[in-house]
């Protein structure tokens, strides 16, 4: 929980500085890092909602530190909540199909985003995540907060090198 207070402060600060996401999704100006297709209410392209890094950084930001099965040390992850990202595109559906750069696919129940503080991380230990590590985007659950999260089910849902999502 030691990250919790800070993340809330950060969240409030961000919310205060940046006016809440405008009704219409702005078109991506920088390099597209994430595309969300399927049942989304807001699109800024013909088929999908496209995000560049700047757009993600404009959403309320959160951080937490947790141990993962892929590293021996605890790592601090930073990024917007997945639910905020989904809200920004007015996603409606029960399942999120996440797809990674290496063609890895996984299904995430939409509920997970509401039940847990799942982060769409773009920073690890305050540094950008290169593709060589697990970047540029990484779906991270707060594994340390609940024992049920420390299981293969959630480890499999934690997609790294995230490229796109489809809401079904």
């Amino acid at each position: 929980m030691f990250y919790g207070i800070r993340s809330i402060f950060v969240g409030i600060f961000m919310a205060a500085c940046v006016s809440l996401p405008a009704a219409a999704l702005q078109p991506a100006t920088g390099k597209v890092v994430l595309s969300i297709a399927g049942n989304v209410g807001e699109k800024n392209s013909a088929t999908a909602a496209l995000f560049d890094m700047e757009m993600l950084q404009k959403l309320p930001q959160h951080s937490f530190t947790t141990l993962t099965p892929w590293d021996k040390q605890p790592i601090k992850f930073t990024g917007p909540f997945l639910r905020d990202v989904l809200a920004a595109v007015k996603a409606s559906g029960t399942t999120i199909k996440a797809m990674a750069l290496n063609d890895y696919q996984t299904s995430i129940p939409a509920d997970d985003a509401q039940k847990f503080d799942v982060i769409l991380a773009y920073k690890m230990n305050d540094a950008d995540i290169p593709v060589r590590t697990k970047g540029p985007l990484f779906i991270v659950y707060p594994y340390d907060t609940k024992s049920e999260l420390r299981s293969t089910v959630y480890y499999e849902r934690s997609a790294w090198q995230l490229k796109s999502m489809t809401i079904e």
Partner: protein, 621 residues
Amino acid sequence: MAGRTNNRRYLLWLAVGTATMALAMASLLVFELAQKRAIERSSAIGSDSLTALTFQFEREFLRLRQVLSEAVAKGDASDMGALAMRNDIFQSRLTLLLESPSVAVLKSREEYRKGVLDLRPMVAELDQALGAKFINRRALADVLAELNRLGADVQALTQAANSEEARLLEQQADVMGQQNRLIVWLTLAQLALLMIASASLVVRQRRQEAERLALEQLTDDLREAQFRAEAASRGKSQFLANMSHELRTPFNGLMGMLGLLQDTQITHLQAEYVQTAQDSAGHLLTLLNDILDMSALETGKLALKPTAAHLPRLLGEVHALMSPLAKSKGLDFHMQLPAAQLPRVSVDETRLKQILFNLISNAIKFTAVGQVRLTLSQRVLDAHTVELVFAIQDTGIGIDSQAQSRLFQRFYQVEDSSTRRFGGTGLGLEISQSIAQLMHGAITVDSMVGQGSTFTATLQLPVVAEAELPRAAALAPVPASASSSADDSGALQGMRVLVVEDHPINQKLVGLLLARMGCQIDFCENGQLALESVQLHAFNLILMDVNMPIMDGLTATRLIRALPGAVAQTPIVVVTADVMNEARDNALLAGADDFISKPVNVDQLRAIVQRYAAGVVLAEA
């Protein structure tokens, strides 16, 4: 003792059994915990399976090789972006293989060194080639050649990971199997222990039940034995009472005949013989009475019959009876009465006399020379009670203190040797003591060997108020002056008496006595005959025995009383050898006018006949 050892052994076994069970359970718990931890660990570390990691690695390796091969073939800079992306993804996979904790088991294998570690120079070469400003096709071609060479090693790595994973799984299965076997054995052991424990519990329970039953049986046996012993004791008392009763009937004849014999014309020597015979009979009667009293006391049937007693007269009678005995032994016997006037007291005279006779005759018996003295003192306790102290002092052999303590016990006589010398039942003192206790008193002894003894009877008796006296006087027995037989015969002449008696000797005795009084006598052998007889003739008196064949005396009395007419009023006197208190009560209850006990005494019989003869005269007048 054996039971206690058994119990201790049982507790020991219980403790050992419990400890073993606890140990087995603890072991099970430890195993289960170990298994749980192992499972947790495998889920934490093995979340990324080894095969998945190597498979993904090989896949990215092949994709990189393909993109590179295309780039080398085309020599086009436009593909460089895609190549760089593939390179990055490949390297992320490589990093995982280098750093992921899941890979630890693989690191010791040759395939890991060839398939992962030996790749690093090639990767560095590719990074360098891609980082250059201009595309160096030659360098890329070298890397491609290297990638082609390494293809077999990367595939071998996947194979190795696969076999390693299989081995791990097998190992885990082995461990699990082993633990499972252990758990099964432990559970079986527990089960066996439980069976043994419950079996031993059952055995113990059975044994305890058997012991309890045995104990119950023993208790029953003991109770039965006690009951039988009590019954035997009661039987003995009853036998004694019956025997004394039976003895009295022939004894009655013996005494009566001796009395009659004495009044006949006999020589001086013959008179002396008869006297001796009478003395012996008298002694025998005393013994018989002792036994009867004893059984009455034992069965609680002895009750006192207090009357207003005139103490000086009573003591006079005692003196008159005891002085000849003392004189015959050459002893002085005198009495000392208190100066103050003695009050009338309510007491059973016969029983009081019995006590005094016993104590005085004992004193005379055990004194060879000197004197026997009876001293009476009184102490008024309150208006209704006086305490009388009869002290009988002798100058006899005395009693040592050890013997004193046992003096009042049954059958006890001062010395074994003295039993022979002095005779007696040994019941006298106990009876006297018991009677004294019934009179709210006690008998104590004070004695020194060679100096003589003092027996003291202390009795607390109720004082009779003067107002009650006249009535008491009226009930007084017929004066003793009636003993001169010569005058009576006229007075009783013509009196008709029916004697109902089955025993021929008694019939004869009573018949002789009554004939001498001048009575007219009829005999019946049982109650039935008597009942018929009274309806044929009028009698002035009926003497009725109790125990008879066909119809007993009490039934006959009841039936006569129930007859119509004047015959029902015929005076009936019950004569019986049964001297228990209830015998008198039963007689009076049946309707008898009076009661006399066997052996029939001449004076007693005369007094009775005279009483009812007087009634006849009164009725005629």
